[in-house]
Symmetry: C2
Subunit: 347 residues, 2 copies
């Protein structure tokens, strides 16, 4: 038999019209104005009346329709999160931080993945604007600057991870240079002097920045980089293995390798094991990203650099939420990284 439209069963109740404030007011025997005030604790309403309203609301399982409230207030209580690689590793912590910061209050997160496609991004942007998001966080897939999402956006925009090319915009990025410097300093601190650097593609700003940090720390210590230049390649374990072999063949006295990512570091560890070298006894190894499954799954566990992306996301959201009322401060803000020391450098 076909489903009735008004049974008590599961799918049927679904179609029931949701109760409105009018229903609550009628049940409590008051006007909708009074009902509204009672529910929101605003205005002067007699305690007895208020209780009646609350009971009535409870009874019909009243849920205020935020669509109506939003229409009135002109705000949706929503922030749009425009990401470009959901699958990637960097959007997620940022997303969590943003969700964290906004979820506590009245804000929710509307998610869009542009998949790196500009057309798609423009479309998503239009949708989000049409939905009257109160603000926008744009997350890049790498730290290379990206074009501004548009100059005439009627809501504040914060760029996270990848900064905007426009100095008018507000961007939050991790301090990759500092991270490279810090982790190199850590190696210097534990007495390493023949330090090599293996990292990702040279045309990634993240790789270049980290390499610059490494160079700065070594320069300050008056030491050269083993092989003089970083080995640029790919963000993969395979490249880590290859590059480590290259380094060790040419410079067997290398006593530390700074890697541009945890994945590269894993490859390097592999190559070192293959040669029966002791880590960190013979060669210390460091990663970058503090990608948990890689950094703590390895043997030994990796000393690495944590960019604190969740904090970055939270800050981005907080800044954005503040910017809904106050003007947004333009410019690029860099967030410090921190070195997480584990057994790959601390014997």
């Amino acid at each position: 038999m076909p489903a009735q439209s008004n049974g008590g069963s599961h799918p049927a109740t679904r179609r029931a019209k949701r109760p409105t404030l009018r229903d609550v007011a009628a049940l409590a025997g008051v006007s909708i104005a009074t009902a509204s005030k009672a529910l929101n604790g605003r205005g002067a309403v007699h305690p007895d009346t208020r209780d009646r309203v609350l009971v009535a609301a409870e009874e019909v399982a009243f849920t205020p329709n935020r669509l109506a409230r939003n229409l009135l207030s002109g705000r949706s209580g929503t922030i749009g999160l425009l990401t470009n690689d959901l699958i990637g590793r960097f959007s997620i912590p940022i997303l969590m931080g943003a969700e964290d910061a906004s979820g506590t209050g009245e804000m929710s997160v509307l998610l869009c993945d542009a998949r790196g496609d500009a057309i798609r991004e423009a479309h998503q942007l239009k949708t989000l604007l049409s939905r009257r998001v109160d603000g926008l966080i744009v997350v890049g897939s790498d730290t290379d600057p990206r074009p501004s999402v548009g100059e005439k956006i009627p809501v504040p925009v914060v760029y996270a991870y990848a900064p905007s090319t426009s100095p008018e915009d507000c961007s939050l990025v991790p301090d990759n240079i500092g991270g490279g410097r810090q982790v190199t300093q850590h190696l210097l601190d534990i007495g390493r002097t023949r330090i090599a650097h293996i990292t990702g593609p040279a045309d990634f700003l993240a790789a270049a920045d980290r390499a610059q940090g490494v160079a700065e720390a070594l320069g300050a210590a008056g030491l050269p980089l083993v092989g003089d230049r970083p080995l640029y390649g790919a963000w993969t374990e395979a490249w880590g293995r290859t590059a480590a072999d290259t380094i060790l063949d040419r410079f067997p006295d290398t006593d530390a390798i700074v890697c541009g990512s945890d994945q590269v570091a894993r490859g390097v560890l592999d190559a070192l094991h293959e040669r029966d070298l002791d880590i960190p006894g013979d060669v210390a190894v460091t990663g970058f990203d503090n990608w948990d499954v890689f950094a703590t799954g390895s043997r030994p566990r990796l000393t690495t650099v944590d960019m604190d992306l969740e904090l970055l996301g939270r800050l981005a959201a907080e800044r954005l939420i503040r910017a809904i009322d106050q003007p947004l401060d333009a410019g690029i803000t860099t967030l410090p990284c921190r070195v997480v020391v584990r057994e790959s450098t601390a014997g």
Copy 2:
């Protein structure tokens, strides 16, 4: 100098009131009714008039306020995605699939992470309902059944990855048993007969299911599992290493190891390398999850089981969107897995 409220500069324009349909209509010299029809291509409106309206809309950069439209239609054009481990590996592909399915049309995704906290989940649920989501996808962090999100939800709910304990609900889960069977069959097909199984905690349904699949395939071939029982432990590389050592010490003639996850498989590979065994010559190894960075970063690359979570997410969203108009079909639907063959089994 303090920022003016009406300059042409960036932060100033932000505060400008957004143009409404009324503005467009006034500029085009028509009524708002006509403007609406012209913009939406509905009703009979003269081409010249329509053009005037379109030009006017363009001029003031009109973006329709979906809040108003939604209030009128009673639908928000939004689906809520309630996840429980954003950080985890399984929510993301599902999220992508859902976003994919809904993004094409008029639907957007409202994201909430309950972080595994029931209180928090109830709160998020209330918020989503208040925002009048048209439907809900609930994503679990593992395949263990989870309590229904509530019986009196006024919108359709689809459970993805983790099924609901209530048979009244609609759930979509990967076929872990089938996956275990398939990958074991693959090993049998390439001639392996002494097969061991190393997997995660016994109280994870995913581990138990996969083990059951392995047992079924071996049973059908009339073969015992090496060591008779699966080695349950943790979803970590460390456990993979430990367990592989245990197996090989006790059963040196083992010629294949089915692992419950790619991480475990990585640990197993490590242990095999340590013993200078050839993979897959001496021992073939398989993973589970097809987690790209693990499965293709290893040496050799891992044969593994792909649960096609993105498809699962897309199906969940499609089913949900369909359910907004039609009744939702209850029950648990399992989605087949597929074996991805790589060098760890194909010499």
